[in-house]
């Protein structure tokens, strides 16, 4: 879009006639089948948060069973497996991935880069509708005969498609179809994000002037385009094993004394494919979170980000390394010990760029003018939580420590801290931060504080003790632990405590939902730039930005996105599109 644009004398860029945007003509094309990235972002986020609330309710039921076994008569072992499977799958794929890339990606990429829209708006719209279809197929599996699949979120064969597993009839088939649809839809969105970042940036927006949010989303999108094919292949092959009786993953198996017609397949092959997707998936979620947190901290501490270049390089390095660590999820699969050594080494190397990021966030806060706004609270909480989860990752990355901890609650505590709670805190922080731009109104800060403190302290009360359960040897995925000789009775009282906290934290999310809905009408008017932020999305002529974002002229970028507390500046910050005060109006 910016091809024909060079910065004219007045420091702005005109939209060439030939590039006139598609414009919506009716209510339907404006709000439903919209091709505007901002509307698509809201659709993505709304759908993802809706299905996320389903996952929240599932987690309540899981905790009900674990904390108070037998209290809910309708949760038997089969239902329990269905609960944990659907909770995990929804949270990782349909909520986190969709919100970060489909939601934040769609909203922020064009606005932060000074573009009018995504490069392929129609494809973008299609991406959302296919995502919605994937979510609907997933929801349908709850109502299918036999219920949703209970294979565990990793869907390991052979058990995923054998008769003893709940949802073997329809659940697993619908799950796999839903994943295939999700990947098809995501690919359309992903191609869009990459081309937009590469080609639709406003004049002057070099890569090294992009906000770290965009670096995170951009790199995560590349990871996703290279990781999802593995899940796609695995899903298609398992679908054929289930429906046509092929034996890609299925070894020779006896079931109830009968030899099934499967034979020769390799279950380990599925594990390789799944984790070739599964590990980059962690960073598909984490990298956008890293980026968003960097921007939140810099803005609300009124300080330039410490070590911008290091932050960019670290994002790229983490992205590259994330493709050579996948087998650390498979230490107990019987692999060659030398492979274990290799993958442990690569896993621990990732700690270096990650630690650089954590240090840089802390150093950005150091002597900053810290405003403890709600987004800032969530950002700081993310650093603490992510650090905690990262440190237990060092335990699990080492083969000898991982083997005894495998399949215990320690693993559950670790990944919930590092890729469950931590990114969710960023999503909340991001919503509190950008809601004023999306709606033109502020979210209520007091409700936000209530929401934050209950969520943050509650998440710790849930997952921190869980590490100790794991160290005691309490296994994960067990419907009940009563009668296990090695689990002391005190584990049950801890489980009951965790469950009680989980109910409170879940309920606190209703406060958040209420705040979002109430503030649409009753929130304080936000103005264009309530946080006094430098990045382009806060400099739009109108708030919320209309279709096309920028009015007749595109912005021109003169500086990096972190000019806060600038000496001599009229305010304490300089927006990216502001020429040097000393040379205002000069040709860039």
């Amino acid at each position: 879009m910016s091809d024909a644009i060079t910065g004219p004398q007045d420091g702005s860029a005109l939209l060439p006639e030939a590039d006139e945007l598609y414009h919506p003509h009716s209510w339907w094309t404006r709000y439903v089948f919209s091709q505007d990235a901002k509307v698509i972002a809201i659709q993505y986020s709304g759908t993802a948060l809706a299905i996320g609330f389903v996952a929240l309710i599932l987690s309540w039921l899981i905790r009900l069973q674990l904390g108070f076994p037998g209290l809910a008569a309708f949760i038997g072992p089969a239902e329990y497996y269905q609960l944990i499977t659907m909770h995990g799958m929804i949270m990782v794929v349909y909520l986190l991935t969709a919100v970060f890339l489909g939601g934040f990606g769609n909203y922020l990429i064009p606005l932060m880069l000074g573009a009018r829209d995504m490069v392929f708006p129609y494809l973008n719209m299609l991406s959302y509708w296919i995502y919605l279809l994937a979510v609907l197929v997933l929801v349908v599996s709850f109502f299918a005969p036999g219920g949703p699949t209970g294979a565990g979120w990793t869907l390991y064969p052979p058990q995923a498609i054998l008769a003893g597993t709940p949802g073997q009839e329809w659940g697993i088939v619908l799950m796999l179809i839903s994943l295939i649809l999700f990947i098809a839809g995501f690919t359309m969105g992903g191609v869009n994000y990459i081309v937009t970042v590469l080609q639709a940036r406003a004049p002057g927006m070099t890569l090294m002037r992009m906000p770290l949010t965009i670096w995170g989303i951009f790199t995560a999108t590349i990871l996703a385009l290279l990781a999802f094919p593995a899940l796609f292949v695995g899903a298609v092959m398992m679908l054929l094993d289930r429906l046509l009786g092929t034996s890609f993953f299925m070894p020779a198996i006896l079931e109830a004394g009968q030899r099934l017609r499967y034979g020769g397949g390799s279950p380990i092959l599925f594990q390789h494919l799944f984790w070739f997707f599964g590990h980059p998936e962690v960073y598909i979620v984490a990298l956008p979170a890293f980026g968003i947190v960097s921007d939140l901290i810099s803005t609300h501490a009124r300080k330039n980000i410490f070590g911008y270049r290091m932050m960019v390089w670290a994002i790229v390095a983490i992205g590259a390394l994330s493709f050579v660590v996948w087998a650390h999820h498979m230490y107990v699969s019987g692999m060659n010990p030398y492979f274990g050594f290799f993958f442990a080494t690569t896993t621990l190397i990732i700690a270096i760029p990650t630690a650089i990021k954590v240090y840089n966030w802390v150093l950005t806060l150091w002597r900053g003018d810290i405003h403890l706004t709600v987004p800032m609270l969530f950002a700081i909480a993310f650093i603490v939580t992510f650090l905690n989860g990262g440190l237990t990752g060092l335990f699990l990355g080492n083969v000898v420590v991982d083997v005894p901890l495998s399949d215990t609650m320690f693993v559950v505590a670790h990944f919930h801290m590092v890729m469950g709670v931590a990114p969710i805190l960023v999503i909340f922080g991001g919503i509190y931060h950008w809601y004023p731009k999306v709606t033109g109104r502020m979210l209520d800060a007091r409700l936000g504080q209530v929401h934050f403190w209950i969520t943050f302290i509650g998440a710790y009360a849930i997952f921190f003790p869980m590490h100790y359960l794991g160290l005691l040897g309490v296994p994960r995925r067990y419907y009940e632990t009563a009668g296990l000789g090695f689990v002391p009775p005190s584990a049950q009282s801890l489980n009951a405590f965790i469950s009680l906290v989980a109910f409170v934290v879940g309920a606190a999310q209703v406060v958040f939902l209420f705040n979002i809905l109430r503030s649409l009408k009753h929130g304080a008017p936000a103005g264009g730039n309530p946080w006094h932020a430098t990045t382009l999305e806060w400099q739009t002529p109108e708030t919320p930005p209309p279709h096309g974002n920028w009015g007749p002229t595109l912005p021109v970028v003169y500086r990096w996105p972190y000019d806060y507390s600038v000496p001599g500046a009229p305010e304490d910050f300089l927006p990216q599109n502001q020429p040097d005060p000393a040379h205002a109006g000069a040709v860039p």
């Binding site: 290279l226 094919p229 292949v233 298609v236 092929t246 890609f248 020769g264």
Partner: protein, 233 residues
Amino acid sequence: MTLVLLYLAALAVLAARWLGQQHLADRPWLTAGSPHPLGVPTTRPSPARLGLGVFLASAGLLFALLVAAYAMRVPATAPVPLDPRLLWLTTSLLVGASLALHGARGAARRGREDEATAALGLAAAAGVGFLGGQALAWRALWEAGIAHQGPDAAAAFFCLITALHGLHILAGLVALAWVTARGALLPRPADLGPSIALCTLYWDALLAVWLVLFGLLFRTPWSGLIDALCRPG
């Protein structure tokens, strides 16, 4: 997995080369104004071409993973139970489609729109022929599989891989039909050059993927190379 890692390494080299030109060592906090000329380099690919390239990179990994899975699951001594002559025929049809598209591209560049449209039609016909040949192969395998009480691994992989490849071919045919119809039906056709160039890139990529798959699934002169890449040791 060697092939997958090599594929990723090749992408990484491309990405590193590109990143090397992006001034990643800049100190953006020191350079207000314009650190680099705002003018856009003239050699930049069109958004559609870049988007197609990104998609093909992703789809290429899909097929690389399938090849890796095949190598892990099926021993080299268990070839697909099919007469390879049929596959040589379909391969030549796919080569023909690519050649016709290159012809169409050249004709469009010279301004010979009639020639270009005819060549497009020829390419589409070759593509349909390719799919027809694959369908015959699937049918033969289906019947053989039922006769053997269940499909064997190599045959199942053949069907899976060629079906996924065939779906991509089908999408390519839709695109070709769209471009051909625009060339043939519109009274004053728009410049077909860029659209034909996109089709050519797509079909060339699918041809390359097919040659790898063909070499993997059957004994061809280049099978040794592919075995060396995906069955080390």
